[in-house]
Symmetry: C2
């Protein structure tokens, strides 16, 4: 474990402030002192990335795939050392970390397959019409090209899958961009181990020095410094709405603004319809609310239904299911403190009733699963109830009728997901509330829970603001690569000089839109 | 010609400030007084658009196509009245306006075809794998959906093709979004005529009231008011860097930021290689520099080459070709004044030599074609030379060698286009300068000029900042629709409730990415 910043293939630790990993399950410090990057070191990392960009950006899909696959292998080669450190730093159980490691290497290999196959870059060809009147139509060919150095802000809640070699890094590298990761202070050791694996992979697959750097340090100095650096061309972020907005504003206020992708908070409304008031639904929801100690951006924080004796009974069953579950160790002392404060603030509002609060579990930094309810009227009158409480908390809204339920849906801000649990007949019955939900989410789920985000082409993980800063892009799935590339058209460009992807014979055998038809044929 | 704002299907003119059309060829006012929208009228237009959004956003591709085609027909039905008014307000010749009208109706019909066919919305399906371990994979289906009311800021230099029913309006409507156009003060009569045509088309094809509104008035009150209105979800703009940046900042500083697409300035560098020093090239360039009195965003404002006696001779030939052309009437008095000031400022810089200045032409507001040159060293020392002069002006940079030429390319900001004129051998010889150019443009052209922007799927009209505010999108061609839509995933959604585009049998027979393969087959 290198206790240093990784600047390209070199290490550098000239800073005099240090990050130390903490075990949230014991509140004890872990080994290692990670020096925060200095402004000089940050500038050096950006310069290296800029130099690397012109080489790395021209690499073939095959070459980038080799690199991404090598990163996955090197992560696996870290073996138990990674799993142990990651569990210790995050308080998450081994099974979860093993699963998350699988997702992380899976994502890297998915992007490797994507760029090795090549069709992702939307090669689009319109052939010339030299006899067109009044002017001939030239030959035009378009494809996606890299934007340049990308900064990735690692997330605390996925120390592997949304951190140093997580989805943002994998998609930015796949797109042909050098990456500088701002390590998350909650898992510096995990970051260092993964960073070293990436550097090893880069070296053994012949990537340019500077294709990857890892900087420790404060968000205020290193993070804000990176986002404002003229050499940085885009950034990805997963975290709180407050931090996301600060960085978003900095990115947009630059003389040359850059795309900044923030995946921020969401309360993920669940529309619970009467036919779903049963034990299976209660257990499914209790599992989703407490999964990962509620520390998922897709945690179902709001359950909306219509008031009735049957609903009251269902809420009781859900409360019992939740109470039966132990509290879990949260990621950091700060997150646990913030969870407790959030729950306290919400429960202090007028008109709320606590239905259940789990008491099980031992040790520090426990997040107690908590369920409460309010009436639709109370909910609509107080925006505090629509504020995310990050952790195993969920609020039930008992609406007096379908029209109040629709008003509750209409009152919500942008969300990552919305779920509907009920029968197909009820879908028709509640159509207008569901359409309202659809208009403000990135993903809509039927008879399921929002936790469990598939990594595939049809995934949309993002949604209208404030769930994400730009609802047109996703941070999960193959389409995440689209955040870090831009189209370039080649007009009448000679065949010999065209990129392989656009050559007439289609040597890479990729899907291309030729004269408005998808085909793998030559032109 | 309705001398009023169009708020949905109603007219309203309660404001007490008025826009009057001016004929730049005579400096005389034209008929009609167009009242600026009041804040109330603006709010009313947005409310109407919000109401219309939920209906219009659910319309089928066929229905939207019918509307777009009807707009094209109603524009044609305006006949000579439109052409005359547009020529009078813009100072542009009839042939140009006829051509631009054809482009405008052509764009509308292109988007009608696009949405009627339906494959544009990137339907993406990943089928379920219920036997996957450890957890089953759910069925996920994704497609693009409208974002909501869009504001379009009309451009002065394309009074038809980038104005009231221009590319931004057509693409936003095609995407399923109601549109509010902020009319350009330079052609209020043309805007009113076209606005009326759109309303007629909306009424006769059964579109909801509020699907389109047209507001006259000042950019400061109406324009800035619209961009800050919470009911507006995106905006498109074509114009100056200064105005674009003001609106961009407002859009991003909103509590809920919205995508703002500004297509701003560009000097469109041309890399002129020695084999191209001939009369044909000179005539092609002179035509491009003076086309539309230089009032195109793709006007070639910078020609870069290596110093030699041959280049000097070419510059002389180009200067003669330019001098032989008459000055043309510019779009407005203000644009002409700004052109003259821009030329004067540039020519006042140390180290610049005027090669040619056309003297032909009669009347007010003439833009004199002007050609000047500087050395590479002079260019690199003074950023003023890289500033756009909007009009028929071009600057030649005579570089002492290939390395200085590369430095000149590397010094440039983001551009809409870059052109290379030379032989294929020279392309190889100057590869690194060309790669540098490619990294900062949206379209790169071989042996051609940047003016003449094809409207087709492979067009990229946009480029790194400041040419455009977001280089990942284009304002010309079918892909322009992608600016105003966002993806939504449907997870395990029941077949009966899926949009037609995502139903298993593929009833619309569109191209879909099913399990990572493009196909028109059913699932």
């Amino acid at each position: 474990m290198i206790e240093s910043n990784l600047i390209g293939f070199s290490t550098s630790g000239r800073g005099d402030t240090f990050t130390v990993g903490m075990n949230p399950a014991t509140d004890e410090p872990l080994s290692g002192q990670f020096p925060g990057a200095t402004i000089d070191e940050m500038n050096q990392a950006v310069s290296q990335a800029q130099r690397a960009a012109s080489v790395y950006g021209k690499m073939s899909g095959e070459e980038k795939a080799e690199f991404l696959n090598a990163i996955a292998e090197e992560i696996e080669n870290l073996g138990d050392a990674l799993v142990e450190r990651c569990c210790a730093e995050s308080g998450l159980p081994e099974a979860r970390i093993l699963g998350e490691r699988g997702r992380t290497t899976g994502q890297l290999r998915m992007f490797a397959d994507l760029v090795s196959e090549g069709s992702w870059l939307e090669a689009t060809i319109d052939t010339a019409q030299l006899d067109r009147a009044p002017v001939p139509k030239p030959d035009l060919r378009k494809m996606l090209v890299p934007m340049g150095p990308v900064v990735v802000f690692a997330a605390s809640n996925f120390p592997l899958a949304f951190s140093t070699a997580g989805g943002d890094t994998a998609s930015a590298l796949a797109g042909g961009n050098p990456v500088i990761v701002k390590a998350h202070g909650a898992h510096p050791g995990t970051s260092a181990l993964i960073g070293e694996a990436i550097v090893k992979a880069a070296q053994r697959t012949g990537m340019p020095d500077g294709v990857f750097s890892l900087l420790h340090g404060s968000g205020k100095i290193v993070g804000q410094g990176l986002i404002q650096h003229p050499g940085i061309k885009a950034a990805g972020f997963t975290g709180s709405q407050q931090a996301g907005r600060i960085l978003y504003d900095l990115a947009n206020q630059r003389p040359e603004p850059i795309p900044f992708f923030a995946e921020m908070g969401s309360i993920n409304p669940v529309l619970l319809l009467p036919s779903a008031y049963n034990t299976d639904t209660a257990e499914m929801l209790a599992g989703s609310i407490t999964m990962g100690v509620g520390q998922f951006c897709t945690n179902p924080g709001l359950i909306v239904s219509t008031a009735s004796a049957e609903l009251d009974h269902f809420v009781q069953v859900l409360g019992e299911a939740l109470s039966a579950l132990d509290s879990g160790v949260m990621l950091t002392e700060r997150i646990c403190k913030s969870y407790n404060e959030g729950v306290a603030t919400t429960l202090a509002q007028a008109g709320i009733t606590v239905e259940a609060r789990s008491e099980g579990g031992d040790g520090p930094n426990l997040g107690q699963p908590t369920l409460a309810y309010v009436s639709g009227e109370t909910f609509l009158a107080n925006p505090e109830f629509a504020t995310e409480v990050f952790g195993p908390f969920s609020l039930i809204v008992k609406c007096k009728d379908a029209s109040e339920l629709e008003a509750v849906m209409a009152s919500l801000e942008g969300q990552l997901t919305g779920s509907v649990i009920g029968s197909e007949d009820e879908l028709v019955q509640y159509q207008s509330a569901i359409e309202s939900m659809e208009s403000k989410v990135g993903r809509i789920i039927y008879n399921g829970v929002p936790t469990g985000v598939e990594v595939c082409p049809s995934m949309q993980h993002g949604g209208p603001y404030p769930a994400a800063s730009d609802s047109r892009f996703t941070s999960v799935g193959t389409a995440a690569i689209k955040r870090f590339v831009r189209p370039v058209s080649f007009q009448s460009w000679p065949e010999s000089q065209l990129p392989a992807e656009l050559k007439s014979e289609n040597p890479l055998h990729i899907w291309r839109l030729v004269d408005s038809q998808w085909t793998k044929d030559s032109v």
